[in-house]
């Protein structure tokens, strides 16, 4: 319940930064927050109050948290970081031509 609220707040905040801010770096930050909100929701939702999903030597296994969503989230985090890096590189490249990172001042981004 609480986690759903946090997810919605963070997702909307990321979307706000993505759409309303004109600074391109801010847009990438918004994208990061948006992705992080999804990852956070997945982890919080899949927490059933069990242990970390690692067996301990010499102990019987007790109740574990679901390992599959955690593995998928790990993949998602790595993919998100590499796409953000590519995006930032392109922003550096665009800045070499325009000397600005304001979206409104760059005509080509608006048509």
């Amino acid at each position: 319940m609480r986690n759903n609220f946090i997810f919605i707040i963070l997702f909307m905040l990321g979307l706000y930064a993505l759409i309303m801010k004109t600074n391109l770096i801010k847009n990438v930050i918004g994208l990061n927050i948006m992705e992080a909100s999804i990852f956070f929701w997945v982890i919080a939702f899949s927490d059933v109050g069990g242990e970390v999903a690692i067996h301990k030597m010499g102990e019987e296994f007790s109740k574990f948290n679901d390992p599959v969503p955690q593995a998928l989230t790990l993949t998602g985090i790595v993919i998100g970081a590499s796409t953000a890096a590519l995006l930032l590189t392109l922003i550096i490249e665009l800045n070499q031509f325009t000397d600005t990172i304001d979206r409104d001042e760059i005509e080509g981004l608006n048509n």
Partner: protein, 84 residues
């Protein structure tokens, strides 16, 4: 014991939202990035509270470490027309 965890979690959640709001609100990019890094660290703590150790390690290393370094190197390369 149980209530202590809940209180800690609530505090961390409030701090998480606060960091995200700050990161979006501030106009200066450098401050935004530092708040984003703090956001990742708080998120790491929350992942640990939710007992997802691998994801917490990945978020600490990638979100708070590498992403911040890449963001920093990006803003260090960016020229603003009026400054030079």
């Amino acid at each position: 014991m149980m209530t202590a965890t809940v209180v800690l979690e609530n505090l961390l959640l409030i701090f998480l939202v606060l960091c995200a709001v700050m990161s979006v609100r501030f106009e200066e990019e450098l401050i935004s990035i530092i708040f984003l890094s703090t956001f990742s660290i708080v998120l790491t703590a929350l992942y640990l509270l939710h007992r997802a150790a691998d994801v917490a390690l990945a978020e600490a290393v990638i979100g708070a470490g590498l992403s911040t370094a890449i963001f920093m190197s990006a803003i260090s390369q960016i020229r603003h027309g009026d400054s030079d």
